[in-house]
Amino acid sequence: MDYFLELFLGGLTRGSIYALIALGYTMVYGIIELINFAHGEIYMIGAFTGLIVAGLLTMLGFPGISILAIAVVCAIIWAAAYGYTIEKVAYKPLRGAQRLSPLISAIGMSIFLQNYVMLSQTSDFLPFPELIPEFGFMEGLGSIMSSSELVIILATVAACIGLTLFIKFTKLGKAMRATAQNRKMAMLVGINVDMVISATFVIGSSLAAVGGVLIASHIGQINYFIGFIAGIKAFTAAVLGGIGSIPGAMLGALVLGLTEAFATGYVSSDYEDVFAFCLLVLILIFRPSGIMGKEKTQKV
């Protein structure tokens, strides 16, 4: 039972990280039907920002927990700035183009950002400081769950609740929902669609940056390439849950994380990806729009 519980919590942690990144994919897709392949790189840039800020603050002698808070905030701001700029540079000029063009632009952006970070920082793996301190009350639980896992899960839950409330109850959230439903109509009733799209990129990037800093602190290392695999997995999670749906992305991420954890635990880690992607194929066969996705009538 302990073993099951450990795997479950491990899967939950991994799923939480996927969820933080997947939300960005799914929101952008929901609003402008673009798969933002540069999103994984935003996560990576968030992690790098966290590393640089944390290093600077440690040098200046800030106390432990404040470093975490400031690093997360800086990562959010910096990654959000990147997300905003990417949208303005790579996607906005292509908004009227056919659907393939922004997709290629996204892939190009992703490769550009990877190489940019590789050249400006380094291609080596870098150690990431442990920003999340060990909690005293966790000692008994220590063998099952570490404090960083708890923080990751709680942060994801908080982010999901916050995002849901934001979209439900704020004016901007309402505007986002309206734009997602019908962009032209939203424009006609006076919604600033460009602003809504930018806001979507900013929010998605912020969540990815939080995920980046937390996971980097959890596993203790980063390099310029971490965004690629995390991005692919999060994208898979978003598709699994039904791309475009926010609860779908969260559910898909958790399902993916748990599947991987249990496949590793009860079968073999050799088959981790095999099970994950088999699950994706199966779900897409039986529910082509994903677990929570809505069947859409094709516009003619």
Binding site: E6, G10, T13, S143, I215, G220, G265, D270
Partner: protein, 384 residues
């Protein structure tokens, strides 16, 4: 249209003629240069000298040139001047057979190379038929010597399985009984892990309780760590490179799993210590023996700096040693006679950059191999 075609034909013919003339002119120049020479001994060097793996092959050409220069300065081998002739195989088996055929037709008797295991394997039957002695500085694939098919093949680098054998022996010497073997599914990591498993399975004192691959670059390895914990292993043997190793060690230590972590020369890298930080303490890793204090090695490196104005590349000490060993064997044998040279390689010791060596019956250099290192105070220290 017809005019155009004939024009093209004319151009082609002219180019062909030019090429033919050029070839002849070169030949004449060569002939002129040749008669002045005395007796010479040709040392063939085969390996990747161009293409994406050239960085592994070119150091052996330099090493051969330096060794030849050193021996020529001392009067040559049995009075013959050593000449180095290089053949490029780009580490491709099909080009390796070409290179071998060329060596054979040129009458080369001793060859330093090839660099990659695959290319070496492809070329060996040709050398065997032509009675050419071959010595590789870098082909680590175990069957090349252990299969016994190629008595003419020698190497100055330890085979892949030697490292695994050392790892398992070392684990036993620590009194460990149950090993969890983890690898990164790559050729190198999985190969190493498989050899470890093979040796552990053959041993009654130690058993493998887990044998699994992890996906490089995965977000975290907590499930694998839990699995190691659940397996009741008292040590982890990891085959692969340092990024995965540091993630696994960090995960293990954070989960309170303090069992020894043993790994290979992909982890015996300072980056590992930098990244894993305090969690790296106590980690064991095997790695090639340290030759930097060897006098011949230091001398060769200094000569390389003087001659090429650069640091030597990978496998340089092994290649330099191989050239010395081959030339020494010819000297001892008194001729390039196939059997006499092979006998000399197996029986007489020679001082090289990798220590004083001779070759065992299978062709592996005795005394060349790996040591166990352990991270102590943020540095790898050899475990005596």
């Amino acid at each position: 249209m017809r005019v155009k075609l004939s024009l093209i034909a004319l151009c082609l013919a002219m180019v062909a003629m030019l090429a033919a003339c050029g070839g002849e002119a070169e030949k004449k120049a060569e002939e002129k240069a040749a008669p002045a020479e005395t007796a010479k001994l040709v040392l063939g060097v085969a390996g990747a000298h161009s293409g994406d793996l050239a960085s592994y092959g070119l150091p052996s050409v330099n090493a051969a040139k330096l060794a030849a220069a050193k021996i020529n300065a001392a009067g040559g081998v049995n009075g013959a001047m050593v000449e180095v002739v290089a053949q490029d195989d780009q580490c491709k088996p099909e080009l390796a057979t070409n290179a071998a055929t060329k060596m054979l037709s040129d009458g080369v008797k001793i060859v330093l190379g090839h660099i990659c295991s695959g290319a070496t394997k492809a070329a060996l039957p040709i050398y065997l038929d032509g009675k050419i002695v071959v010595m590789s500085p870098s082909a680590t694939n175990p069957p090349l010597t252990q299969s016994g098919e190629y008595p003419n093949f020698f190497r100055t680098i330890a085979p892949d399985d030697a490292q695994a054998a050392l790892e398992v022996d070392f684990a036993k010497s620590l009194g460990l009984k149950k090993a969890a073997i983890i690898h990164d599914k790559g050729d190198y990591g999985k190969g190493f892990a498989s050899f470890c498993k093979q040796f552990i399975d053959a041993d009654a004192d130690i058993e493998a309780v887990l044998f699994e691959g992890v996906t490089p670059g995965a977000v975290d390895y907590s499930a694998v760590v839990q699995k190691i914990k659940g397996s009741g292993a008292d040590c982890v043997i990891f085959g692969g490179y340092h990024p995965e190793a540091s993630k696994i060690v960090t995960g293990m230590r954070k989960k309170g799993l303090e069992i020894p972590f043993l790994s290979d020369d992909g982890v015996k890298d300072d980056t590992f210590i930098k990244v894993a930080g305090k969690y790296a303490e106590g980690v064991y890793a095997t790695g090639p023996k340290d030759f930097s204090s060897n006098a011949i090695y230091q001398e060769a490196v200094a000569a390389h700096k003087a001659e090429f104005n650069a640091d030597p590349g990978p496998f340089f000490p092994e290649a330099y040693s191989a050239a010395l060993a081959l030339l020494n064997a010819v000297q001892v044998a008194g001729s390039t006679d196939y059997d006499a040279v092979m006998n000399a390689l197996r029986t007489s010791y020679v001082d090289t950059a990798v220590g004083k060596i001779k070759f065992d019956a299978k062709g592996d250099a005795e005394g060349v191999g790996f040591s166990v290192y352990q991270v102590k105070d943020g540095k790898y220290a050899e475990v005596k």
